[in-house]
């Protein structure tokens, strides 16, 4: 991004700020997470630790709220349980990860543009550009950005645990914000491979670590711009569309299960959740 670049692309740059993201995407990676299938087993979360060099912070720091789980399973009890003796309808599980918003609120507030929108529709976080102002997480309604409050390298990976570290992405040191990347290293590898073989990426050719691990297949990952991908079909099936939220938009079929969390904040999340199904007759 030189001066020339700024001058030439200023209008695009500005519009990006107003309307969110790019206008010519190469891919738009997205997900569909079926809460009917999610059993809250933590497989995805652990897979994420394994794939993405996530630091184990230990009990004391976990207590302080400094854990680094990019993919966390939130467990909620039903509001109705307050009046019951037992949580008869079970728990509510919500896998929460970076929603890779199309109009991400984290992006405009970063003073050094360490977080920005890629042509793949991802919220990139460039670790070595980050200066640690932490505004991005303050402005994230999902609170899915994690800050390296300490240097974890020595404590989290005592030898030989450090041999497990994935060389495809860096290990973040103190003072750097990090977050779910939709396993960008896998995306990169797949894109390189497809390019080498002179073909388009095939849906299902690769998956994020969480989607791969999920025993019930609740997480579906893919390119929402590929009309034949599973994730696109799911989005279409549930009549969830990308783009800004307007109340004027013809309301989707109310019976369908697709929704995006905090869509009304106009952040255009890339993850569609499917409502949890509840038996009403018990």
């Amino acid at each position: 991004m030189s001066f020339k670049n700024i001058l030439e692309n200023f209008s695009k740059y500005r519009r990006g700020a107003e309307e969110g993201g790019h206008h010519e995407y190469e891919h738009r990676w997205g997900m569909a997470i079926d809460l009917n299938l999610c059993i809250g087993c933590n497989a995805c979360s652990t897979a994420c630790y394994a794939e993405n060099n996530l630091a184990v912070v230990g009990k004391d720091k976990f207590e302080k709220g400094q854990a680094m789980h990019w993919m966390r399973i939130e467990r909620y009890w039903d509001d109705a349980d307050a009046g019951r003796d037992f949580p008869e309808q079970g728990a509510l599980f919500l896998p929460m990860l970076c929603q890779q918003c199309g109009a991400a609120t984290c992006e405009p507030v970063c003073p050094v543009a360490a977080t920005y929108h890629t042509p793949d529709g991802l919220n990139a976080q460039v670790y070595n550009r980050c200066i640690g102002s932490r505004y991005c997480n303050n402005n994230c309604p999902f609170r899915v950005r994690y800050f390296n409050f300490w240097s974890y390298y020595e404590s989290s990976w005592p030898e030989p645990l450090n041999m497990q570290l994935n060389p495809d992405l860096s290990v973040r040191d103190k003072g750097v914000m990090e977050k779910c990347t939709f396993c960008v290293q896998r995306i990169r590898t797949a894109k390189d491979k497809a390019q080498r073989e002179n073909r388009a990426i095939v849906d299902g050719e690769f998956q994020t670590a969480c989607a791969q691990a999920c025993p019930t297949g609740a997480i579906v990952f893919g390119d929402t711009m590929d009309p034949n991908s599973r994730v696109t079909k799911l989005w279409q099936e549930h009549e969830v569309e990308r783009g800004p939220y307007t109340s004027k938009k013809p309301k989707q079929n109310a019976e369908l299960r697709g929704y995006r969390i905090f869509e009304e904040l106009n952040v255009d999340p890339s993850i569609m959740y499917l409502e949890r199904v509840r038996e009403t007759e018990v």
Partner: protein, 737 residues
Amino acid sequence: MSKMKSVKIDRRSFLKMLGWGGAGTALAGCDLPTTVTLEEGKEEVVSYLMPEEYVIPGIGVWYASTCLQCDAGCGLHGRVREGRVLKLEGNPDSPINHGKTCMMGQAGVQAHYNPDRVTSPMLRKNGTLQAVSWDEALSELNGRLGAVSGDRFAMVTGTVSGHQAVLVSALMEQMGSSNHFAHETINARVWRQVCEDMLGDPMPRLRLDKAQVILSFGADFLGTWLSPVHMATEYAKFRSAPRGMLVQIEPKMTLTGGNADLWLPARPGTEGALALGIANFVIERGWNKVNVTPNVRRALAEYDLPKVEEITGIPVSKIKRIASLLSERSPALVLAGASAAGFEDGYESVAAAMLLNIIVGAVGETIEASAQFPEAALLARQGSTADLIKFAKGLENKAFDVVLFANTNPVYTAPEALGLEKGLAEVGFKVAMTQFPDETAMLADLVLPLASPLEDWGTHVAAYQAGGDPVISVQQPLMEPIHKDVRGFGDVMLGLLKARNKEFEQFADYYAYLKTAMLNMPGLADKDNKNDAAWNNLLQKGLLSAKPAKGKLSIKAHTVEVAGYQHSKEYPLHLVPSARLGLWDGRHANIPWLQEAPDQIAKVVWDSWAELHPKTAHELGVKNGDIIRVSSASGSIETQVYIHKGVHPDVVAVPMGQGHTAYGRYAKNRGANPLKVLNPITDKKTGELATHATRVKVSKVPRKNILVKMGGSETQMGRPLVRTVSADQFRRTEGEG
């Protein structure tokens, strides 16, 4: 043989680590980037001695193996780059896990790279364990083994199957001993026995995918029961449109309970009565698909609903509803797991559930005959606590001179009341074959460091064969041993056998043995082993399917007698030592990822806790984080309180897994071990430890802890994060299937 050896070297040389000197570890932003990274000559780079065709530095390659984190036998793919295994994923070809893994499987790499592994043999000299060479260790061991006769030798293992099981039996045979004990705390021994007795098949296939309603009496099939990953993949089909319904009856909410449509806590130990009551009601209404003998009918008639309500504490209306569901939404499936089986009459309770299965016509519909693996010798020698109790009895009678432990840690898992530690003190020579400095190893006279599952060869036949065809899956090393001085389990066993039987000397090592054995399996066509094609295919695929030795289910319904509920004044509460997907029976407490992963329901990390119902907590006057003492007749533990509604008010539930006194930095001195205070009550029929039968009292300790858990708010505060939709609507929009 020499040919084989050279093959082996070739095969294994790719596992050599390349250029480990900091690859992938420099920190983004550790310092001024320019200082760290633009320096030349800081990192090292090493080449292979010989070029390896499929190994290109910088590109990860996936190799198949088998997961040993629990005994479900899931197939694995491990990503290997520059000679290091980096990531494990499920093997899509495996009929057990279909490419999926659980969190424990994912954490296999951390067991492998664990910083607290035993790295060299240790022999107890003057009371302390000291590092010795393998030669010294083995000569000592062989000497001791030579001096012991017959049944004075005992071997304790976990569940063991495949060719390792063959070697174990061979060793037992050579030693002339029948004392092989397979010990697993989390097992389905009672279920197996009931299936064997009532269906004629110890491990029938459960078709969750076919079921429309599942009634589970404490079977945590998504978490810890039989084959959790497989069950979860099947559960996904069960939950897809038209969507089956899950009813879970258990005293403490498990992961499965958390996903149930209806979760009810029956009074602990009364699951059998509830099952019988439902059965009675089903027959009364004529909803039964299968008729029962008049004997059974008469016995059932005793369980009229008001009486069942009185025993179980579950209202008649709910019982009726469950009964009608079982008939309306057929096919049904009734399961029974730890919290039903863990009592003196546990067998009867599980049998009652099975009776219900028979009555509602599940047998043949959702319960199918198992796909038994044809080679009987390779079948899993499944662990149980009955074996542990037998072993403890033997110790009490001073029946053993030499005990060999392998991949098991009974000193940690055995209740104090079994007197294992005391008994072991009397044993002349104790050998622990283990990866980690666990409690058993700390008591042993000789510790033999084993290679990790990702460094070792092996074959595994899962006890629960999930697919239509039974499989034996191959465990191949994904990298060379990190520590030079460890040996594979098979290699050690083969070494012991070689010293006793010349026959085994034809095999240079366990790899050679395994390869010969596997290539003689029916199903591997390439007998003459041209270019190793068959062998390489096998390794590439990671498993071998066999023709099933298919049996047929033969229903033998019999009367079931469950005991009534007894109140206890002195010990008013029940202790539920709940199993966790994650730490399992405590064997994964040394894996930081699993310690840091919050419990699925309680969301507590890095510690143990005692779950109390708000009512009970109120009566005791305790709050979250207060320390309480849980005392049984056999001892007491102290741990922090965690209050939630997912427990029966008569129950205090403490998860297994913590409370290690050894086992490395991540596990040691953390939390409490509920298994320690269990009373030595056994199931009458199977001799299994009745894990849920212990009565306890709880007293407040004037100390407080900060309950470290994930998550700020316990509810969504009315915000539409997890939205729900009714199943009716779901069926309307997404079809009847």
